[in-house]
Symmetry: C2
DNA sequence: GTAATTCCTCAAGTCCACTTGAGGTCAAGG
DNA sequence: CCTTGACCTCAAGTGGACTTGAGGAATTAC
């Protein structure tokens, strides 16, 4: 198992809780960059566990793999990432996270006010316009992950 | 357009910002129940706009259509839903929403502590175990929507 | 009354994030 | 040395949420 010091894909799976197939898929998507041993098998650094943990956590917040890849690309590829490297990525990530939580909270309040009020004048209902706000700010998984402009047409008229 | 008073699917699309095809799909999934006019075309009540707005908002929070359908099934099918009908649905929805926001916030703090600290002893790192917590509590869209137990294997060993 | 628009039903295609399976190679234990 | 289990690639399948297209009928606008 320890060929030239690296971890096998099975060991990574055991340590992260991910399926082996998922880890291979993540390599495909450029999220991790294992090297190969003499026999062509993948070998991982211990630091890659952290990388994968980050992927898992970020996904739970609704970020797409592409988005996560973009964040991870900010880490150095040659040397193992240091504390400050991770802190930098974390900071950017945290900002988006805050925005997302804020958007969710705002939408929740809108929903409260609107559904609670029972107003049936839907043209002026806040809920009615919630998606525009969300689309502009990027609230839920949908808009943040897919970025499908076609989803927000001319509206209302 | 006003056959026996109902709104056409095109009118609904214009008022909600949804694509016509999406509205038809939602009917397929049991989220709305339009009736048909003499010529077989769908006709909607004005109250259905609110129904669709709810669908849109709930989706932004990461709920699956099936989950949303379950919530909407609590509304009366025969008469148009009243203020208190909506309030009841809203209350249940709000509870889940609160749980989700709390989980996100907790995960964010975990991430802060862990990535900020730069600890490289990943076996004890909180981030390392974040997914287990999340799986137990139901944090992100993934686990709440898919409920894929196969995703959380025997782990760590 | 007729042309343009809107609507209808299928069936099939798309995108994301994976999993499953076939057919074969590599590595570790006895 | 040889068997067993872990690993390899590549193609195809899955599920959720839709969209697109074909072929045709209903409605509306002039």
């Amino acid at each position: 198992m320890r060929d030239s010091g690296g971890l096998s894909i099975g060991a990574m799976a055991a340590r992260t809780g991910l399926a082996v197939s998922a880890i291979r898929y993540y390599e495909d998507q450029g999220l991790i960059h294992p090297w190969r041993n003499a026999g062509g098998q993948r070998r991982f650094q211990r630091a890659d566990i952290r990388r994968l943990s980050f992927v898992i956590a970020a996904q739970q917040f609704g970020f797409s793999l592409e988005h996560i890849r973009a964040e991870l690309d900010k880490l150095p590829k040659t040397r193992a990432p240091s504390k400050s490297d991770w802190a930098r990525v974390s900071k950017a990530f945290r900002r988006e996270l805050d925005a997302r939580i804020a958007a969710l909270t705002a939408l929740r309040e809108t929903l409260d006010g609107c559904i609670g009020c029972g107003c049936l004048s839907l043209e002026v209902c806040a809920l009615y316009n919630a998606r525009d706000k969300a689309a502009a700010r990027g609230a839920g998984p949908r808009y943040l992950m897919g970025d499908r402009a076609s989803d927000i047409p001319d509206a209302v008229r």
